[in-house]
């Protein structure tokens, strides 16, 4: 026990004395979160649109004003011919063109129906979709107002409610996603270099020739970084709540416990990498490049997992970020309790245990 304690103290000293690395490790998540939290967004704000309106009557004018007044759109141009729309799209001047049919108001009054065409630039599919969706929402709102005044006998009103995130804020998706990425990359990197560093410095020889047990070395290496990881979790959560406006609907204690488990999982992964490699560069490369892509692709944060081909869905089951991302969303945004996330938690706990045991097993007590 004495030996183990001495090892833990040693590891804390290593971490605390390397001031520069410590600043990077604490500072990096803050910068990444700010960068991604604000820059990464699939919301549509102030999209430029053009209007093709040959009738220029009361109704079309009202609709144009409504579109312009909404915070999603700015009407930048009025055009007279449909061909001009093409040119605008090609020059990238507008995201969409709203085309009112000729004699709009008259047609509407006489036939009780009039058409609006929405031309959207779908070269960027997501934005195109969103813009078209928002425009039709503005138009539908106006239509409902008309209906209320007229009292028609039958009318089917479709009302869509976006549960948990009524304003469709992209931060609700991106912030948990970025949290997952930051924690797995940072924490696995921290421990990935920890053991291999001693191999490079030559201090490992002295440890190997002593009667130290592998588990002591491994567990002692993980402890200071667990503290660092939890510190990062605290900073990220506070920033997400205060600056990025994310809700904390579920139990804070549960959230912190799940974050702690995920940090431990990432640290174990790093330790496993560290026992298997012989240079810091290789360890760093594996933990950064090797983890970045699968973590991003298979977490479900950028690309919906349900849409992936079956084999890839199977692969996603071994990617730990998938489970943590789902837990984060459930607890933070939906406010669900432990009974809804126990399965994911159990999987993560098992992964941690297996990786830890693998790390201890592959810790060579002899040189090669």
């Amino acid at each position: 026990m004495n030996t183990f304690l001495a090892f833990v103290i040693k590891e804390f000293r290593h971490v605390l004395r390397d001031r520069r690395s410590l600043i990077v490790v604490i500072g990096m998540p803050i910068i990444m979160l700010l960068l991604y939290g604000f820059a990464l967004s699939n919301e549509v704000k102030n999209s430029r649109i053009a209007i093709l309106d040959t009738s220029r009557d009361d109704v079309t004018r009202t609709l144009t004003e409504r579109l312009d007044a909404s915070r999603y759109f700015t009407v930048v141009q009025h055009i007279d011919r449909p061909e001009e729309a093409d040119a605008l799209f090609r020059q990238g001047k507008v995201r969409a063109v709203v085309v009112f049919q000729p004699m709009f108001q008259q047609t509407l009054l006489h036939t009780n129906a009039a058409s609006v065409q929405i031309l959207a630039d779908a070269s960027d599919t997501n934005t195109g979709n969103t813009v078209a969706f928002y425009i039709s929402n503005v138009l539908r709102a106006y239509q409902n107002e008309l209906l209320d005044q007229q009292k028609l006998p039958y009318h089917i009103n479709v009302e869509t409610q976006m549960a948990y995130n009524p304003q469709l804020k992209s931060a609700f998706n991106f912030v948990p996603g970025v949290m997952v990425l930051i924690l797995i990359l940072l924490c696995s990197m921290l421990t990935a270099v920890a053991i291999v560093k001693e191999k490079e410095m030559g201090t490992m020889e002295l440890i190997l020739v002593s009667p130290v047990r592998p588990w002591m070395m491994i567990v002692a290496k993980a402890l200071p970084f667990l503290v660092v990881g939890l510190l990062n979790v605290a900073v990220i959560l506070i920033m997400a709540y205060t600056i990025l406006g994310l809700p904390l609907r579920g139990s804070l204690l549960l959230l912190i416990a799940e974050c702690g488990l995920f940090v431990l999982l990432a640290l174990s992964l790093g330790l496993f990498i560290s026992t298997r490699t012989n240079s810091q560069q290789v360890a760093l490369f594996i933990s950064l490049v090797g983890l970045m892509l699968p973590s991003l692709v298979f977490s479900g944060f950028m690309f919906p997992l349900e849409n992936m081909p079956k084999p890839l869905q199977v692969v996603s089951n071994i990617v730990p970020t998938k489970y943590f991302f789902s837990i984060l969303k459930s607890v933070m945004i939906k406010g669900l309790g432990f009974s809804y996330v126990w399965k994911e938690t159990l999987i993560m706990a098992t992964m941690t245990l297996v990786l830890m045991l693998l790390a201890i097993r592959s810790f060579k007590i002899r040189l090669q």
Binding site: N2, T3, L5, A6, F7, I9, K10, R13, H14, R17, D18, M201, G202, T203, E205, L206, I207, L208, V209, S210, P211, V212, I365, R366, L367
Partner: protein, 247 residues
Amino acid sequence: MKKIIETQGLTRTFGAFTAVDAISFDVYEGEIFGFLGANGAGKTTAMKMLSGLLAPSGGSATVVGFDVKTQSEDIKKQIGYMSQRFSLYEDLTVLENIHLFGSIYGLKKAELAQKAEVLLEQLEFTDQRNTLVGDLPLGWKQKLSFSVAMLHEPRLVFLDEPTGGVDPITRRQFWEMIYAAAHKGATVFVTTHYMDEAEYCDRVSIMVDGKIAALDTPHNLKRQFNAPDMNDVFLQLAATSVARAGF
């Protein structure tokens, strides 16, 4: 005399290359045993096998009564080891390194504190106790490294080129420390490149191409090879290796 190291046909290969080729020798309790050889002759490999760091490919060896193949963990508790590369923790202070390695070898707190004081006193390091080891001059580091290896009073200590790159005065002091340890009953197994240091050893073995080419007291070796000093003995043996390699 009691044997502390016994080897029989000890061999280590790395792929097709045989680094240590069936060496057999004994080391007796309490002696200073010099382990000489040119670079690449297999000294460090042999030493690593004896200290339990490296598994042998063939042959057998017992160290402090334990088999190096199956009982390396028992050996580790009984020996001290100082590596060719300086390997205390550079970002820990002198005292912190002493405490860490003392704890690794299971010294109790009070015992460790008292030993640390004695050690600092002897090395005249009392003022440097809180200096980071990375800031010490090389010679000081080596002396500290040796003292740390002796902290748990091992019966046998392996020193791998302990005085490499160190000035003559510090080398002299270093050998005084080795004598002091031997005087207290420790067996010292030391590799070196300095032939004057070979003269300080009780017995000397010279390795050439993975084999032991000669093993005796410095006095007998000089007589056997009709050489004025150990340097000449070494050159005569090394020359046979160079001739065989076809240079």
